[in-house]
């Protein structure tokens, strides 16, 4: 495969220089640089590997060794959208397996395969840290929470039709694989302020605590005062009680004061 033309090379070179400047050792820039290559070519192309190698003074084999270790680096041209269905245990059991079955049935492609129009690359993905929203689907690594086979298939068809698709927790619309790769390379796209701060599951504890008037102990007590209360010594286990006191009764742990009947009081354990 031919290398990049001069204008492209100049632009990539400037970006690569900006990447390397972030690190004490330029080699640390290799991962972002591979993301940069994907933002240009839509996968880790031979030209991209050669570019990284030349820029960092490595061999092509050394760059390939790194690129093939990480699942986000694609060895053949990726679709405009990577659609990942979580089929790790928890999502799978909650319905991820059914979603995977349905989506593959409709698209007629399997894992790491791309639709003929180049729109969608399908992946079975591992846990993406959104288990409280299971089953989860990711489109270009934006969160699509609480999916059903119907919702997942509908999203995929809209992507193929070229419609704008909005993630549950993310930017106001899904960007392309190449645009995403540029952000991963460390070049912000100015979309951080779009979307929500948190979804409903994230806020469950926060809202429940507020509705019941539960709060953490107040910050507004100077630390030295907390360590040595002047008078009215607080009860064991209460805020402002001495941190030096060894626990001797179940009341010495905050959990014990709200323990369910029949539960085991926390005991002091020997040092591990």
């Amino acid at each position: 495969m031919a290398g990049y033309d001069e204008a492209t090379l100049e632009r990539l070179g400037a970006d690569a220089a900006a990447i390397m400047a972030r690190y004490p050792d330029p080699r640390s820039g290799l991962l972002p640089m591979l993301h940069l290559v994907q933002s240009q070519d839509g996968y880790v192309s031979p030209a991209g590997i050669a570019f990284c190698a030349r820029t960092l003074g490595l061999s092509n084999a050394e760059v390939s060794a790194v690129a093939t270790f990480y699942t986000q680096y694609k060895r053949h041209p990726n679709g405009e959208y990577t659609v990942g269905v979580c089929t790790n245990t928890l999502c799978a059991v909650m319905g991820g397996d059914a979603i995977w079955e349905e989506v593959t049935h409709h698209l007629g492609i399997g894992h790491d395969e791309t639709t003929p129009d180049g729109k969608v690359t399908l992946e079975r993905i591992e846990c993406n840290a959104a288990c409280d929203y299971a089953p989860v689907m990711m489109v270009n690594w934006e969160f699509f929470d609480n999916q059903t086979p119907q919702s997942a298939v509908s999203t995929v068809y809209r992507l193929i039709a070229g419609e704008e698709v909005r993630p549950t927790r993310g930017a106001s619309s899904v960007c392309s694989f190449k645009q995403m790769s540029r952000v991963l390379a460390g070049f912000p796209d100015g979309r951080a302020d779009e979307g929500v701060g948190a979804g409903p599951a994230t806020l469950r504890g926060t809202k429940l605590a507020r509705s019941r008037g539960w709060t953490a102990p107040s910050f507004d007590v100077p630390a030295d005062a907390a360590a040595a209360p002047a008078d009215g010594a607080p009860a064991a286990g209460q805020p402002q009680s001495s941190a030096e006191r060894p626990p001797t009764t179940p009341a010495d742990t905050s959990a014990a004061t709200t323990q369910a009947p029949g539960s085991t009081p926390a005991r002091p354990e020997k040092e591990s």
Binding site: R22, S28, L56, M94, N140, G197, W214, P217
Partner: protein, 450 residues
């Protein structure tokens, strides 16, 4: 002062504020007060405060944070690094990603305070690459912190200077292991290093390095604001403070519940509306898939490091994955094992080969085509991985298998004649009704087992 309450939102207290991720919102709720207090102290006093707080690593291992920091050798004039492990990927674990989405500034402030305490001038946040919007929020949070003078030269006129680089990974569970993470950050394949030397002595670029989890670092500003005694007023003597408990699976209201360490699953389930209607608890993980599973008999085990350990598991990441009686334990264990086999980095033989063969044996058990020797074969293979692998991934891979056989041996025995999908039809476990489109995974597995 009021009695301790079941929940104690600290990190999560203002996650529902308008534009909670912005610096303005963070400052409005007391953000960067901890940094101001820290900068007024000597770095050694900051370290002592964190040490006295009893904060322990929130990424799974539970190592005392202040002690980890104190392991750095005396300054020799060369660089020292803080690397934040934001590579949250342990199955079931979903606390750091929402923390960084809703409140990235808490991580930035914690990183600055920690860097000040350990004498670091350049810190790194290694975030997994598969969370685009979280990466955007982190990038923006660092930009805002620079613009406000919390980062860069002479922070708040203190004479202290710090740079933070946000670094996106590229998809590899193993990079959550701290030395694999360092290799990855150096631009290499993410494979664990032989220890010692530990990162404190020879970490990033072979320089003294502290690697801490997101929640650990995000907890530091509160400790500086409230003091070590404030932090110790929550939790238990040896497991001090607050922590995010992440409920997922067959629970009525899954989500993040921030509570003092030592709360029980029974209490948390009460807050979350219990196991989904009409069903009952079968098994659960206390801290992700690498921690041995628990059953209903552990509902009252206090979720602190010591109590969970004494009951035969690990507190891990407080990733409470709840499975009800419709769920096949063999199906779950097979899937987790497929995950470990997929994510094994290949560096050491016990893990690389062991997880591969565990997967083969489990697949035929799930398909109902196991042999009478298979349970012993699984246990024997686990025995040859546990303690013999290069890093904790191998050990973790054995946890679900050995614990599941301990509590549900009869289900593995049934795998010698009956597919898991017949004993536990998967459509009964899912959150929506559906008719399996194909003959089912049993048929696929039977093919794969040969």
């Amino acid at each position: 002062m009021a009695a301790p309450t079941p929940l104690a939102p600290v990190l999560s207290a203002h996650w529902d504020a308008r534009r909670s991720w912005t610096l303005a919102s963070y400052e409005q709720h007391g953000g960067y007060e901890g940094l101001r207090r820290a900068l007024a102290l000597d770095p050694s006093e900051v370290l002592t405060t964190v040490k006295d707080s009893g904060l322990r690593g929130r990424g799974g291992a539970g190592f005392p944070t202040g002690m980890k920091w104190s392991f750095l050798p005396a300054p020799d004039g060369g660089p020292r690094y803080l690397v934040v492990n934001a590579d949250e990927s342990e199955p079931g674990t979903c606390k750091d990603i929402p923390t960084m989405l809703a409140s990235p500034q808490s991580l930035v402030e914690g990183s600055i305070i920690t860097s000040y305490a350990i004498g670091c001038r350049h810190a790194f946040i290694y975030v997994r690459g598969e969370v685009l919007h979280v990466i955007r929020r982190l990038q923006r949070a660092v930009e805002e912190a620079y613009a406000a003078g919390y980062l860069g030269e002479d922070i708040l006129g203190s004479g202290y200077s710090l740079d933070i680089t946000v670094h996106a990974g590229a998809g590899a569970y193993i990079c959550g292991e701290e030395t694999a993470l360092l290799d990855s950050l150096e631009g290499l394949r993410g494979q664990p290093r032989l220890k010692p030397p530990f990162p404190a002595v020879a970490g990033l670029y072979a320089r003294p390095t502290v690697v801490n989890n997101v929640e650990t670092i995000a907890s530091v500003p509160g400790i500086l604001r409230g003091g070590s005694a404030w932090f110790r007023s929550m939790g238990t003597e040896k497991s001090a403070g607050h922590g995010l408990f992440s409920l997922s699976g067959h629970v009525t209201r899954p989500g993040q519940y921030e509570a003092p360490l030592g709360i029980t699953l029974r209490q948390l389930l009460d807050l979350a509306g219990g196991v989904r209607a009409g069903h009952e608890l079968k098994f659960w993980t206390p801290g992700g898939s690498s921690t041995p599973i628990f059953t209903a008999e552990h509902l009252d085990t206090p979720l602190d490091y010591e109590s969970v350990g004494a009951a035969g598991s690990m507190l891990g990441t407080r990733a409470l994955q709840i499975f009800d009686e419709t769920t096949s334990v063999v199906r779950c264990v097979t899937r987790w094992t497929e995950f470990y086999a997929h994510e094994s980095c290949g560096k050491c033989t016990p893990c690389r080969e062991g997880t591969f063969w565990l997967k083969q044996v489990l697949r035929r058990l799930e398909a109902g085509q196991g042999t009478p020797q298979d349970i012993d074969l699984l246990l024997d293979t686990c025995d040859n991985i546990l303690g013999r692998a290069f890093c904790a991934l191998g050990d973790g891979a054995t946890s679900p298998i050995t614990s599941a056989i301990k509590y549900f041996r009869e289900e593995f025995e049934a795998g010698m004649h009956t597919p898991a999908s017949v004993l536990f039809p998967p459509e009964r476990s899912s959150l929506f009704p559906y008719t399996p489109r194909e003959a089912g995974r049993g048929a696929q597995l039977a093919g794969a087992a040969h």
